[in-house]
Structures are given as structure tokens and as C-alpha cells.
């Protein structure tokens, strides 16, 4: 085809490609602008499944539950005693790692439960502060557990063992984060 055209002294039909890069750049800029790169961060939770009508919730020993109450002013009551948000982290740690020593706290890390109860008027950020402290308590326990296994911290343990070797997360198996969000009282 080309030869034929050349004989007739015509130019070969070509699409000019010099502006291709510009067009692609424009599209690129459009997608760059519309892309939201910010990753959503937050505190992950799993809600308890809906209770069946006729099934009673499983019995839990009173001592295994660490009750935290947050009131309308954001004040905290731990096991019916006034406390502060900063203290919760340590209380959670002593509760979970009690291993049956103190009768007020949990029997074993596997049984330990933390219950957070709010009233309907509690401001959301007071609740998040308390929940955050409870989680930080668990994070610190996992960190020290990972260090005793010879890892730098819990994150490294997860990267090496759980992601790398596809093994079970033994630390979380041992110290389960069991946090329950209790319903406020009806009044």
C-alpha cells in the first residue's frame, strides 16, 4: 500500500502523534486530582450478632467482666468506682493479666471481658477516648507478649509470623480483645 502511494507521489496517511503525550497528561492530571489517597483510619470493632428471641445469652462470671461506665459529662466509673480515662489502660492490663490472683479481676486472659457502657447523652468523643484507652491496653499487652517471644513489637510479630508464615496469631489467641458495648439502661 505504501509503495503504491509513493509512486503516485502522495504522502502516507499518518495520525499525528506528537500531541498524544499532552492528551495523556491531561487525563493523568484529571485522575491525579480526583484520586483520594487518604486511607480511612479508625478503631475496628466487630458487633455481636443479633440475639435470637428465645436463646439466653451465655452466662458470664461477674469477676471476668471489667465494667466501665461513661456518663453524660464524660466522667468514668470503673467497677463502680470513679476513675479517670488515663487510668483505664492500666486497669485493663491488670484485669486481663490477673490470672486468678485478685478475686476482683479476671480468672484468665482468655475469659477476660471489658464492657463499656454509656448513657444515651454521652458525647461520642468521650466514648472514643475510653474505647481507645482500652484498645491501647490490649496493644501494650500484645507488644510485651511479642517481646517475650523475641520480636521487637506486636506489629513485627504480625508481619513475620501471621503474614509471612500464614500461621495463627497465637498472641491474639492467648490475649483475646473482648470488648462489649453495652446497651444503655432504658428509663
Amino acid at each position: 500500500m505504501g509503495k503504491l502511494m509513493q509512486k503516485r507521489g502522495r504522502k502516507e496517511a499518518e495520525i499525528p502523534t506528537s500531541s498524544m503525550a499532552d492528551i495523556a497528561f491531561l487525563l493523568l492530571i484529571f485522575f491525579l486530582v480526583t484520586t483520594t489517597i487518604d486511607v480511612d483510619t479508625g478503631i475496628g470493632m466487630v458487633l455481636p450478632p443479633k440475639l435470637e428471641e428465645d436463646v439466653e445469652p451465655p452466662p458470664i462470671k461477674e469477676r471476668n467482666v471489667l465494667k466501665i461506665l461513661v456518663n453524660e459529662q464524660g466522667m468514668v466509673l470503673v467497677e463502680d468506682e470513679p476513675s479517670s480515662v488515663q487510668l483505664i489502660r492500666d486497669v485493663v492490663k491488670t484485669h486481663v493479666l490477673n490470672n486468678g490472683q485478685d478475686p476482683r479481676y479476671a480468672e484468665s486472659p482468655g475469659n477476660a471481658l471489658v464492657s463499656i457502657k454509656t448513657s444515651r447523652e454521652t458525647p461520642y468523643n468521650a466514648y472514643v477516648d475510653v474505647l481507645d484507652e482500652v484498645w491501647m491496653g490490649y496493644f501494650e499487652m500484645w507488644d510485651s507478649e511479642a517481646r517475650s517471644l523475641g520480636y521487637e513489637n506486636y506489629q513485627q510479630y504480625v508481619d513475620v509470623v501471621v503474614e509471612g508464615q500464614d500461621a495463627d496469631n497465637a498472641i491474639r489467641e492467648k490475649i483475646k480483645a473482648q470488648i462489649s458495648i453495652a446497651e444503655p439502661d432504658q428509663n
Binding site: T34, D40, T41, G44, M45, R120, P123, Y124, Y127
Partner: protein, 150 residues
């Protein structure tokens, strides 16, 4: 090398640009694939609380947002606390379960991210959570910002 120095000076100094469009297209395709197109206009104000024990949600496509906060009104005024899912304000909290159930059928690994304004009261949040339990969408996330060093 030194003997050929003169000859070398005659070589073209242009950077070959023939493959430039291809490179740009590669970048373009990367961004096209990774883009989640900008979603909804949020009609409620949500100033997120700060927290320390936070994790990232890597798979953005699994996430569905629920906004809870005071409604944005004209002239910078704030109205009553409202719940927004996708593009619509939810009038009746009881409808959340059907909305969420439909989303769960589409995406069985759905994570519901609650973007709640820090001044909101827990009552609304607990109502929404109760609806999520009814819909069996149990994986939730309290969206928070990273705590700045005090």
C-alpha cells in the same frame, strides 16, 4: 575513548521522546485503576475524634460510610443531628437495616465505617449500631484521626 572524542561530539543529544506517551499512559492506567471516584457530598458536619489505637483500612472498596453529625444549614449554621448514608439523609433510623442488608448482599465482606462527629451523642450511634446488627453487618470501624503528640 579519548581518540574518539571528536566523533562522539557529533552524536545527537536529544532525549528520545518516542516512548513518552507510553510512559504517561502507564501512569494514567495506574491511577485509573487505583481511583475510587469521589463519592458523595456530605450534608452533615463530621469532625472526627482523635485516637491512638488505630488501624488502617486497606481495601477501600469494602468500605461503606455512615455519617452522623449535625446537619449543615445555610450560612454556617448547624441543625439537628442527622444520619447520612451514601447521598441521602436517613429520616427514619429503622430503614438502615434494609439499606445495609442490600449492601451486604452485594459485598459480603462489607465494613461499615462510622464517621461520627465528636460532639454527637451516643444514643444516635447506638441506634445505628442496633440497626447494623439487625442487618447482620457486624464489621464496623469508628473513623478517627491519628492523635497528635501532646
Amino acid at each position: 575513548m579519548s581518540t574518539h572524542f571528536k566523533k562522539k561530539a557529533k552524536t545527537k543529544e536529544d532525549i528520545p521522546t518516542a516512548s513518552l506517551p507510553d510512559i504517561i499512559f502507564m501512569l494514567l492506567i495506574f491511577f485509573m485503576v487505583s481511583t475510587v471516584l469521589r463519592e458523595q457530598t456530605v450534608q452533615v458536619r463530621t469532625i472526627l475524634p482523635q485516637a491512638e489505637a488505630i488501624s488502617k483500612i486497606e481495601q477501600k472498596r469494602l468500605v461503606s460510610y455512615v455519617w452522623i453529625g449535625p446537619m449543615k444549614l445555610d450560612g454556617n449554621r448547624l441543625g439537628e443531628t442527622a444520619v447520612q448514608i451514601d447521598d441521602a439523609l436517613i429520616e427514619d433510623v429503622g430503614t438502615i437495616r434494609t439499606v445495609m442488608y442490600r449492601k451486604l448482599v452485594e459485598q459480603p465482606r462489607l465494613i461499615v465505617s462510622l464517621r461520627v462527629d465528636e460532639t454527637s451523642e451516643m444514643g444516635k450511634v447506638l441506634d445505628v449500631q442496633q440497626e447494623l446488627r439487625e442487618a447482620n453487618t457486624l464489621r464496623i470501624n469508628y473513623s478517627t484521626k491519628r492523635q497528635l503528640a501532646n
